[in-house]
Symmetry: C2
C-alpha cells in the first residue's frame, strides 16, 4: 500500500473514451489499496481552441481573463474523470486548483507555485476517495485563478506529490519513457529504466520533450521521485530520481538531437574589447536564447562570431545583431544555416575521460563535420549539418554501446 | 446615470460574433455613464453538450461533479465577454459565481441563493469597471461550486440586481418582450409595455416561456423591477414590476396557450369518500403535476374523474392511476386525449365581472367546446381541443380587444 500521484496529459484524456480508460487505470491502482491522487490536463485541443476564441475577440487578451478562460479546460476534465470513476463503483472527488490549495504568486499565465495546503486533499484521501486535481491552475492570494504556463500540469503533479508526501508520482503520457535515442531514428534504442534529474533535464531540454524542464527542476529541488510512462499500455516507464553512485557506471545515458536550431554567423566585425559583448547584449535585450558560441579572431583586426539560436528566434536575432553592428563599426550577419545539435548526456561523464574523443571519432568516421562544440559537466554537444543528423545519432548511439540489440521499443 | 444589471442568455452569447455584439451593447450602456453589471449564461448548446458527455460516462452522474462540470460553461463566457469589452477600450472584469459572492444552500444542481455579498462587485464598479458575473452558479458554505438549475441565470441576474440595488435589471433574450398573445398565431398581438409580477408569472408559466417562474417570484419578493427585451434589436421590451392601480384598468392583459397538455379520464370508479383522494395521492407519489380537475358523479354509485397533466408525464400518470384503481375496486383510465389549455390573465379581473362570460361566449361563437375550466384570482383557464387552439386564441384575443390593429410586432 502506497500513496501515488498519477498525472494524465491532454492526449490521455482527449475524449470520453480515453477518460474511461484513465478511470479504469485509476480504479485498479485504488483497488490495490493505494491512496491515489490524480492530476489531469485539459482535453487535448481544448486549450488551443479557447485561445483561438480569445484572440478572435481580442488580439492581446488580458492575462487575468486568459487564466479565467483556460482554467475551464481542466475543470471539465476533473468532473468527467470523477464521474467515470464513480461509474466503476469507486469513490472519487474532484478539486479545482484553488480547492486543492495550490497557492501561486500573482503572475497570471505564468504563475509560480508558492505553496500547497493539502488539508483538503488529505481529508478526501482519509475517506478513501480518489482525489482528482485540476492541473495547470492555482489561485493567488487575492482569490484570482492563475495558470502555470504550458506544461504546467506536470508541475502541478510534482508539487502535489511533494505536498502529500507521495511514494511515487507517475507521469502518464503518450510515450513509453525516456530512451537512449529517438526510437524512430535509432531502431535499437533502449528505454532507460532510471535516470537522474540532471540527465533528465539535459535530455528533456533537447528535443525529446517528454516533460517541461520546470517540472523536473521542481522535482529535483524537493526530491520527488517520478516515473514517466505511457497511458496506452502497461509497460514500466523511466524512473527519474536523485543521482545514485551506480548511475555513474554508465558513461553516456543517451543521445539527444535538437533539429530546431539555426546557426548565426556574424562576420568581419571589429576585434576590440566589448564588441562581442555589445552583440550579445543586443540579443539578450531582444530575448533571443543564444546557445552554442564560438569566436574566431581573423586577420587585420577583424573577427567572426558564430552561435546557434532556436529557429523561430532567428529573425529576431538577425534584427538585433544588425542594430548592434550599426553602432560598432560594421560587419555582416547571416542566419541561413540550419543545423542540428547532437548531445551525449550522462552523469558518468564526470568520472570518465575519453567521451569527447569517442564522440568526435564516431562522427569523423562518417565524415560528419562538427561546426560548433559546447560542453557541460554531464553533456557534450556538437552542431552538425541538419541533413546528416539521423545518420550521426545512429553512429554515436552505436559508438557508446547504447543499443539493446533486442529492440525493447514501444 | 443609473446602475443597471444586464443579463444575456445562451442564444445572445452563442458564439464569438454574438459575444462581440453583447460587448458593444454593454459598452454603449457604460459610455452613457451608467454602472453596469452583466450576467451571462453559457453559450447555447454548451450545457447540453456537457450533460451528454457526463451521461455517456455515467448514467447517473453525481450532483456535485455535475455542478463542477456545468459551471465551466458560464466561466468561459464571462472571460470571453470581458476580453471583447476590453478590445473596445472599456475596463471590465469577470467574476465566477463564487467570486461574485453568490452564496447558496448545499443542494447541488438545484441550489437556492442564500445571500449575495456584493463587496467584490461594488469594489470593481467603483473603479469604473463593467463587472461580468457568471450566471447559474454560486458557491456553498463549504466552498463547493453549486448551480441553480435550468434558467438559473435569470435568477442570478435578479438576485445580483437586488444585492447591488440596481435601478433596473434588463433580461436580454431572443424575444422582444411579453405579448398579448403569441404573435406567430395572432397577427395583431401587441407587445405589453408593463405587467405586474403576478401577471408575468401566469403568462410565463403558460407556454410563453420567457422566464423561469422562480426568477419572477424572486423579483417580486425583493421588489426588483426588470425589463424583458431582445438582444438582437434596440426595441424597448416589457417592464415587469409591482402592481400599480392603473394596471387594473386593463381587465385582461394577455391570452396564453399551453399546447403541452394531455387530458386523463378515469371512468367508472367507485363514488365513495376517499376514492379520488387515493388516485391523486398515487399521482403525487409519482411526481405528476396535475393541473385542471373535474369530477362527475355518474349513475349507480360510479363516478368519473378528469384532469390534465403535462404530455411527458402522461405515461407516468397512467401507471400511477392504474395501480391506484387496482386497490379501490376497478375503473379504467384513458390518456389519449391531447388538449390545449387557453388562459386569459389580468390583475384587472379581480375588480371587473363578466370576464368568464366574454371568454365562454367568444369560444361558443366559434363552436369550440370547453372540456375543463379552472380559475385563479387573476386567471381563467379552459381546456379545449388541441386542433382548435389557434383559432380559439385569435377569437378570445379579439373579444377582449387586445389587438393593436397596427401590428406592433418583432
Amino acid at each position: 500500500m502506497a500513496r501515488i500521484v498519477q498525472k494524465y496529459g491532454g492526449t490521455s484524456v482527449a475524449d470520453v473514451e480515453r477518460i474511461r480508460c484513465v478511470a479504469a487505470r485509476v480504479k485498479k491502482c485504488h483497488d490495490a489499496g493505494n491512496d491515489v491522487v490524480v492530476v489531469v490536463s485539459a482535453r487535448s485541443g481544448v486549450t488551443n481552441e479557447l485561445i483561438g476564441k480569445a484572440r478572435y475577440l481580442n488580439p492581446a487578451p488580458n492575462d487575468r481573463e486568459m487564466d479565467m478562460l483556460l482554467a475551464v479546460g481542466e475543470q471539465e476534465t476533473i468532473a468527467l474523470t470523477a464521474m467515470a470513476i464513480h461509474a466503476m463503483g469507486t469513490p472519487a472527488v474532484s478539486r479545482t486548483g484553488a480547492q486543492a490549495g495550490i497557492l501561486t504568486d500573482p503572475a497570471h499565465t505564468r504563475a509560480r507555485i508558492v505553496s500547497i495546503n493539502a488539508d483538503n486533499i488529505e481529508a478526501a484521501l482519509r475517506d478513501r476517495n480518489v482525489v482528482i486535481v485540476a492541473g495547470f491552475q492555482g489561485v493567488n492570494a487575492e482569490g484570482q485563478i492563475t495558470t502555470l504556463g504550458r506544461g504546467g500540469s506536470d508541475l502541478s503533479a510534482i508539487a502535489v506529490a511533494s505536498a502529500v508526501k507521495a511514494d511515487l508520482c507517475q507521469i502518464f503520457t503518450d510515450v513509453d519513457g525516456v530512451y537512449t535515442a529517438d526510437p524512430r531514428v535509432v531502431p535499437d534504442a533502449r528505454k532507460i529504466p532510471e535516470v537522474s534529474y540532471d540527465e533528465m533535464l539535459e535530455l528533456a531540454s533537447m528535443g525529446s520533450k517528454v516533460m517541461q524542464a520546470r517540472a523536473v527542476e521542481f522535482a529535483k529541488k524537493f526530491g520527488v521521485v517520478f516515473e514517466v510512462r505511457s497511458s496506452f499500455n502497461e509497460n514500466p516507464g523511466t524512473i527519474v530520481k536523485e543521482e545514485i553512485a551506480s548511475m555513474e557506471d554508465v558513461v553516456v545515458r543517451g543521445v539527444a538531437v535538437d533539429k530546431n536550431q539555426v546557426k548565426v554567423t556574424v562576420s568581419n566585425i571589429s576585434d576590440q574589447p566589448g564588441t562581442a559583448s555589445r552583440v550579445f547584449q543586443a540579443l539578450a535585450e531582444a530575448e533571443v536564447n543564444v546557445d552554442m558560441i564560438v569566436q574566431n579572431v581573423g586577420r587585420g583586426g577583424r573577427a567572426n562570431l558564430t552561435f546557434t539560436v532556436p529557429r523561430d528566434e532567428a529573425g529576431r536575432a538577425k534584427k538585433a545583431v544588425e542594430t548592434a553592428l550599426a553602432t560598432i563599426g560594421g560587419g555582416s550577419v547571416d542566419v541561413t544555416n540550419e543545423v542540428a545539435k547532437l548531445s551525449v548526456v550522462g552523469v558518468g561523464m564526470r568520472t570518465h575521460s575519453g567521451v569527447a574523443s569517442t564522440l568526435f571519432t564516431s562522427l569523423a568516421e562518417k565524415n560528419v563535420n562538427i561546426q560548433l562544440i559546447s560542453t557541460s559537466e554531464i553533456k557534450i554537444s556538437v552542431a552538425i549539418d541538419l541533413d546528416r543528423a539521423d545518420e550521426a545519432v545512429r553512429a554515436v548511439h552505436e559508438a557508446f554501446g547504447l543499443g539493446s540489440g533486442e529492440g525493447d521499443r514501444p
